[in-house]
């Protein structure tokens, strides 16, 4: 998955991130991606709650409403 695909998931697919934070190996497998044990371990260290800010900051795009 590219970074922009992941960005889309941060905007629209909170289920993916919940599953990734709970069980990275299983979530990646479900997404059709194989990862090494080291990579899975690295994914377990991430703060997925930070992604809430992506939907908050960018989910309401198109406001164009400054005046």
């Amino acid at each position: 998955m590219t970074v922009q695909e992941l960005f889309e998931k941060a905007l629209h697919n909170s289920k993916f991130w919940k599953e990734l934070s709970k069980d990275p190996a299983k979530a990646l497998q479900a997404a059709g991606v194989k990862a090494t044990a080291d990579q899975v371990a690295a994914l377990k260290q991430l703060n997925y709650e930070a992604l809430d800010e992506v939907a908050t900051a960018f989910g309401g795009g198109g406001t164009g409403n400054i005046t």
Binding site: M1, V3, Q39, E53, T63, I66, T67
Partner: protein, 335 residues
């Protein structure tokens, strides 16, 4: 609904203690009265149209309450500026006059919003209520006729600001790229209408000359707010084929990256740093106003920016880290 919640959240992320000064009772009442006055006037004079417009006004607001739309902390303070100016220029601002200024400005805003939504192609029922522009424009302009006779200098400011804004909107609509020159000359000029309520306050308070400082600040703040909107709307703009100065810069700098990848890698950070620098410059423009409200507002915007910089940087680090794994040679997506 997701988008509405996100929009509401986006406009409410500021720390409560600092944004509380924006919970201005006077403004809340003036905006509520203005929205109610619009609905009453429409019901009386154009009941069928009025019913449609009532729904549209409610739909614009994430809470479903039309006045809330104008009270969001991150929205450009179009309605706050004339109140702040009146407070700094007159010992006892004229309540009836300020109510009319807010009423006129809310009408002017809805006029622009309706047309903008159609031009930007994110209208819902806008085409069906397009004749409401007759109401909004008449109320926007005619409200001032009570205060300024036909030959008054106010009307030259009105014409100049209103027509140059309209000209800029049309020019920008026909551009296929917005560089720095176009941003400064055209995009920023779209916001010239913000001068009108300030000029009204200045002339009514008899301090027309001093208002130049306020008008300068309003335009500088509008420029900054446009940069902020371009930055936070980047993803929406890409998806909807819209152009902006920020996106033009993204295309110029991204190299072999996609726009999204460039924004996540460095573009957003660069954009935020630019906003922080420009906010500091705004403080210089604000200094002659001697307005504690403006200072508090800029303080709040600075805090919001810093907060977002921290949180979004962390979020983008997570995305990049996951991308490294999912794009790595050992990672295999199915055929």
């Amino acid at each position: 609904m997701f988008m509405e919640r996100a929009l509401m959240a986006r406009h409410n992320e500021s720390p409560v203690d600092q944004s509380s000064f924006l919970l201005d009772d006077q403004l809340q009442k003036l905006v509520s009265d203005a929205c109610a006055r619009i609905q009453n006037e429409l019901t009386r004079r154009a009941p069928f149209l009025g019913e449609q417009v009532r729904g549209w006004m409610a739909q614009l607001s994430a809470t479903g309450q039309a006045p809330d739309y104008f009270l969001q902390p991150r929205m450009f303070p179009l309605l706050r500026l004339p109140l702040w100016a009146a407070k700094s220029l007159a010992a006892e601002p004229d309540g009836e006059f300020l109510a009319d200024v807010i009423y006129s400005t809310v009408n002017g805003y809805y006029y622009i919003r309706l047309l903008d939504n159609l031009m930007d192609d994110h209208g819902t029922i806008e085409l069906k209520i397009l004749p409401a522009t007759a109401f909004f424009h008449t109320e926007f302009q005619a409200t001032y006729q009570k205060y300024f006779e036909a030959a008054h200098r106010f009307w030259e400011v009105f014409r100049s600001a209103w027509f140059s804004g309209s000209d800029a909107v049309t020019q920008e609509f026909n551009l296929d790229r917005i560089g720095e020159v176009e941003f400064e000359r055209i995009t920023v000029s779209k916001l010239a209408g913000a001068r009108i309520p300030l000029a009204a306050v200045g002339f009514w308070c008899g301090t027309g000359q001093k208002m130049q400082c306020w008008e300068n600040f309003a335009l500088a703040l509008a420029r900054w707010s446009q940069m902020e909107d371009d930055l936070f709307d980047w993803h929406h703009d890409v998806r909807h084929g819209k152009i902006s100065y920020f996106l033009s810069e993204a295309h110029r700098r991204k190299g072999s990256d996609t726009v999204d990848a460039w924004v996540i890698r460095e573009g957003f950070q660069l954009g935020l740093e630019t906003l922080q620098r420009e906010l500091s410059a705004l403080r210089d423009v604000a200094r002659p106003l001697k307005s504690p409200d403006v200072v508090s507002y800029l303080d709040l915007r600075e805090t919001i920016l810093e907060d977002q910089k921290t949180k979004i940087s962390e979020a983008f680090q997570v995305l990049s880290a996951v991308a490294v794994v999912t794009e790595a040679p050992t990672a295999q997506a199915p055929d």
